[in-house]
Symmetry: none
Subunit: 213 residues, 4 copies
DNA sequence: AATGAATGAGCGTTCATTCAT
DNA sequence: GATGAATGAACGCTCATTCAT
């Protein structure tokens, strides 16, 4: 397999059976190729040749591209939310949690530029990931509501609005400069009902305390 | 040509030369097909057969799908902004202008469900429409800033965020219920820096004064 | 009509009826386009647009490209043989006649680079031009035989060999340098049975007496 | 695959891998179709259907017709020159070598009428075969010059003239009667500077000694 | 006579998918 | 399990040809 930024699935499968290792190779290749050509434009052979496998091998694992995307996006979702959650332990302030989660997410996108792109394509194409996202956000949103910080009604549109704001940032600035991350975080907080001033301060705090490195 | 909701371009070209009428047929067909299958998935023959023309006829008018999309989206932009601007005459209050423009836009989407979908695909695919959109919004945003209502920096990301919010609404509720329109308008105002309360009131006012029908 | 090196047919038809003038425009355009793209690669619209006529107009004059080629090549043959014959008046020496005719032909090709190319394509594609060529050559060949200069049997293959030698020169050096013309003329004379020395001298003489300018 | 005169490449690949066998099938089919319709007029599907393969299979082996022609012509050149060279061992007399090579070449064309046709199209279309031909002829021409038999300057035009003479014979009499072969051989020798008498005698000798069968 | 819009058969090419090895 | 040759439907695009104006 051609060298990549980070072979997420391959690493997770070292030592496992061959079938699992080949599948992981496909998954990692899919990330690379989806990220560089986009899901639609990607051909099966793009993935298998990137994985240095025969084209026919693909069909030993997946029926079609969609099924692969589902697998990829789910795996990425698990990895990324895991990373974010690690840092959120013990935080109880709703806005801080949301701001941090958003900032962390975009930070991951900076370090692994391919991941978020592919994950978001997955969310917009694979239906079940939509509701998973809702589940994931709901808790933090409810905390913020209870604390009186968020003035919102939790519904599918709201979640989509948040995702769309994130996507807009990613689309315009794939390298995720600090400025883009900040503007996106602030936009999310404003959407949830914080004033511009509070949004700004909240983001500042999160950057100082959690993202200095 | 198969019956459609509203043959925008066909109407504009009645009485003109045959070449212009056929081009309009293609444009109207493109709207229908792009809206129902999406731009990417649309085949040239989908458009020509919807237009009841031979496939080859397409190439008498456009080099490829992109060129057609550009034409369609531009035409739609002119029509839609025209309709919106008609109602904005004399309004000087920044938030009102933005809220009304957004609400009107989404209203058009309710009446002509295909238009906004296609226009937005065009904006995200055709580069020159991106900057046209910026131009269109900038004035109202500047008014709101000067009046002290908006707390923003006008940049490309902001414009994309606004468009993304609109798109999120359209994607989730293509029929554009009042609830969706309201939530989208409020989201835009919050993004621009209004508090939840002001956003809500502003939207209420716009609905009462300008959208009762 | 776009400017060309020399509008042979157009000139011949000035003052005649419109039908004749339009046909001439097509013929001259055909020469230009056949010469630059080759007969096979030429499209009907290449010719009509070069002639600044509508594509449909073509079919008012010809059924297809082949018919047009026949017309073009015949016209060119008449023009070119006319020019050559003008200079041959009074010459009775077989080798001189052949050498001069060949040299003149290639000279015409230098002045009107498009003509010979098109004419030869015509000869090899249109059958009836083949036998016309035989007719044209036979007389001079017979003179040379009778005078004891040529050691040949006049047959179709011989004529084709001569034409092929001419074509080889044209293909390799479209600009028809003096060297190419000389080598080609000598090759023709050798083919007819002259020794290398006599061939060389014959060509020298023709160049001195008839082609000094 | 439909029956053909002689499946040159197929024979060479029996026992080899499937990929090689299929490629050979394509090559042999190409010879048949190119010979009967000409290179230009041949469609990809003409070749694949003659080979009893799916149209798509072609593209597993070649990018386009040109690439295939190059492969075919090269293979034919190797085969044909091999056959000719076998008979030339030990001959040191320049004119004999040239006459025999030419005669043998045309003899091959009689036995395998498709080969020379296709090879010559290849030589005139594929540039690298042009120079290969020059290389091949140069040696014999130099021998003849050194021996004082040929009165020539070796250049590209000369080589093209020789090829053109051969082509003329092939075009006019695809069955390659003895008369055509003789006339063509004599023409080549005359072109190289031999007198008609010597040319005739040389050809007679070659026919008696080497082509009696 | 001239136009040029419309046609649709035909071709090159791609690529998901199958299957014998 | 992995391979990769073979498939053929599907699509983009061209262009000779027709015909109403």
């Amino acid at each position: 397999m051609a060298a990549t930024a980070h072979q997420l699935f391959r690493e997770q499968s070292t030592g496992k059976k061959k079938r699992e290792r080949t599948r992981s190779t496909l998954l990692d290749s899919a990330i690379s190729v989806f990220a560089s050509k986009g899901f639609e434009a990607t051909r099966i052979t793009d993935i298998t040749s990137h994985a240095e496998l025969a084209n026919g091998t693909f069909y030993n694992y997946y029926q079609d591209k969609d099924e692969l995307l589902r697998d990829v996006a789910t795996g990425l979702a698990v990895e990324i939310t895991g990373r974010i959650n690690d840092e959120m332990e013990g935080l109880t302030h709703g806005p801080t949690r949301v701001a941090l989660a958003t900032a962390r997410l975009l930070h991951v996108a900076r370090q692994e530029p391919e991941w978020l792109n592919v994950l978001l394509e997955g969310v917009f194409i694979v239906p079940e990931l939509q509701s998973a996202t809702v589940q994931y956000l709901r808790q933090d949103l409810e905390i913020g509501i209870e604390q009186g910080h968020f003035t919102i009604e939790i519904n599918l549109l709201l979640v989509n609005q948040i995702l769309s704001l994130i996507r807009a940032g990613l689309l315009l600035d794939p390298d995720m400069s600090d400025a883009t991350i900040r503007q996106t975080c602030e936009a999310v907080l404003r959407l949830l009902g914080l004033t511009p001033t509070k949004s700004r301060k909240q983001v500042d705090k999160v950057f100082q305390r959690h993202l200095e490195n």
